[in-house]
Subunit: 415 residues, 2 copies
């Protein structure tokens, strides 16, 4: 059987009530695209046997692979497995490994296993079972080779579904799919999208496999390299070849990383160079430091940061002279630089960052509107400055400000 096209059906009344956002569908859709499987339709229904049966029947008329998420729990309204088995004409049978794993799960937590839980260890006869390493509900696949139809069923919680998909479902599905797609994302900092396009124009036009496409990130530029292949390894090899070619262009010096976030790249780079960073944040209120410390192992590069929200705190903890506020105001490149130098002096870090501005929604004026943010990154005698005029909500302005700061940190770290 060759899987050509697919649909996703999410099962759960909580989706129809708007209580949860269906991130599973987006995740699976993205992975199906990489598997080279077409995907024309997504739907969500409640825990209702009639509507579920009707939709499964209709979907199997349209597609080869139907992925069901949710409704594999122990309660009476979890009916996905029962309903799918009925449509496929299979009865449910217990699986010994699933049953003993389930028993172990409960006894390990010192809890009694109720009879209702047992149904999680029953599966449609002949199903491929995906054991769950992060919860109690295993997933499974029913294959009807004759009709050329497959139903995959997965637990709804993303922290169970995501690893199950990556570790178990994808390797299984790959037996039934043809060529797949593998992507690499090259992060570029310090060069605009149109400049990247100009430099890469000839490569982009000539490239058909892998393809090369730049797109605008939130404040940075990303180049997506996508290869068609038969195995992930082959795909990565092809992408790596193209990535190396791009490194050799004028874009090369501006590449901060491949398949990593700005904060991951910044921390990695500073670790590689043995550099330490400290930040003095005002309007971003700790978000830059939060993002740096999102990266595991960031303690090797960050010892200390300060959120100095008021002028008094900027003077007391960073030594920004009060005259500076009077002469230049707190919203000035001079203040951002003084903050960066102040935190460097206090912490002894190699790179100091200062951020000051107005995230809004209040506090803006005609001359200094909401979204005015000054960022300075200092390393030794070198100062990198940006004066930003950002638009959007308070959260968005704060986030973009830290994106710029991270790019400046990368620039400073590169030396």
């Amino acid at each position: 059987m060759l899987i050509k096209n697919s649909e996703i059906l999410s099962v759960g009344t909580e989706i129809l009530l708007g209580e949860i956002v269906n991130t599973d569908a987006a995740f699976i859709a993205g992975r199906l695209a990489l598997l080279g499987v077409s995907h024309y339709y997504q739907a969500a229904v409640g825990d209702n046997c009639g509507r579920l049966t009707e939709h499964i029947r209709a979907a199997l008329e349209r597609c080869d692979l139907l992925v069901l998420t949710g409704g594999l729990g122990p309660t009476y309204d979890d009916i996905t497995k029962e309903t799918a088995a009925a449509v496929m004409g299979r009865k449910l049978v217990p699986d010994e490994k699933a049953m003993s794993t389930l028993r172990g799960y409960f006894s390990g937590r010192g809890r009694a296993m109720s009879p209702a839980n047992e149904k999680q260890a029953y599966f449609p006869e002949g199903a491929e079972i995906f054991y769950n390493d992060h919860g109690t509900a295993p997933g499974c696949a029913i294959l009807d080779e004759e009709r050329g139809k497959m139903i995959v069923m997965l637990p709804g919680p993303p922290r169970e579904l995501t690893p199950m998909w990556l570790d178990k479902v994808e390797p299984y599905l790959r037996r039934f799919t043809g060529s797949m797609l593998v992507s690499m994302n090259i992060g570029v900092c310090g060069m605009g999208e149109s400049d990247v396009e100009t430099v890469l124009h000839d490569i982009m036009v000539a490239a058909s496999d892998p393809t090369v496409a730049p797109y605008c990130g939130e404040g940075d530029v990303r180049i997506r390299v996508t290869a068609r292949c038969n195995t992930p390894e082959e795909g990565r090899e092809k992408c790596r070849g193209m990535t190396e070619q791009i490194y050799e262009t004028d874009v090369g010096p501006f590449i901060y990383g491949v398949d990593e976030s700005l904060e991951e790249a910044a921390v990695r780079l500073m670790r590689e160079k043995g550099l330490h960073i400290s930040a003095a944040e005002s309007c971003t209120g700790g978000l830059l430091t939060k993002r740096l410390t999102d990266v595991s192992g960031s303690s090797a590069v960050l010892e200390y940061s300060a959120v100095t929200y008021t002028e008094r705190a900027k003077t007391a903890f960073l030594g920004v002279p009060p005259e500076l506020f009077a002469e230049k105001t707190v919203y000035s490149p001079e203040c951002a630089e003084a903050m960066a130098r102040g935190i460097m002096a206090a912490s002894g870090a190699d790179i100091g960052v200062g951020i000051t501005g107005i995230a809004g929604p209040d506090g803006g004026t005609e001359e200094v509107p909401v979204g005015t943010v000054f960022v300075a990154a200092v390393r030794g005698g070198r100062v990198i400055q940006r004066a930003l005029r950002l638009r959007g909500t308070r959260q968005h302005i704060r986030y973009l400000s830290t994106n710029h700061a991270l790019m400046m940190v990368i620039e400073a770290a590169r030396g």
Copy 2:
């Protein structure tokens, strides 16, 4: 016409490729539930005229109201309006107000308006138009009174769709809906879910309109009060009555706020009492301060916070004695308290918070596993302490830690 049931259809190939998460559907589903409109089905299709036509036809057989999101942009693959109009047998006609608003939008940004943009000012004849205050694509509604069918079309970007729905679509739809639901969420801190249930048992059993239901938040407890009503005002009035009744129970002293987040409640409470806060964060890396400063106006309560990631920084900037690390280790209630006292002494704040622990994924040991976090909140002579054993990813452990810290801040602020 009375709208009884509804479906949502999201249009956009980017959804099927998994490039965006469909938050619009969750938002609209939640609002439809509050409008008292049933909702049994959600779907997503690509920018494909055939499949879109087929789905709209089928959906209108099943429901009274079909909400379409996305595909209202200026490009050739934005076909939602054209397709829906064709199914409903309407032709597209220009709207003068939309056209001049569109022209104003472009001239205000000093950009030329392309002919393609003009199509955003065309609507199905007789449609109700929802002008867009946050983007270029207006939404609209087509009503077929005879068949008792309505199609509502909205732009996809959430920052355009959300205000349009709240300000324009909902008031319009209310002409066609019966009774609606209005909810209030009461936040409780310092009392467990089962204790809340015990205290509120009689009220919950007796309550039918509004209903009362407690549920577990991420580290806190929320009580949802939901009233059936004909206008939002009437609903809020009924909810307020029940909320006041709940305030008078033993839960009352533990209520931190109504319809506000933990950080909003903490900032509001400190503002009301004229209190200042400073935090010394280790494993949360600035997240607590970031969340406090997410709240507009937080500069009135926060002047200064420090992220002291290493032992050296805890000693240098908070005065934590090095002996304490040797005797109690950095992962101890004593260290959390010393950090809180250190930041209070440095900043002169009324409330000091200290957080230390292991967010993982590395760094855990058998005695001190990943997820061990100590939080201390100090106000004057009073110390509130929590020793947490959290599970989950690094991000989740950090987030839950700050939830606990915020609840302790509220407790301290209440005095």
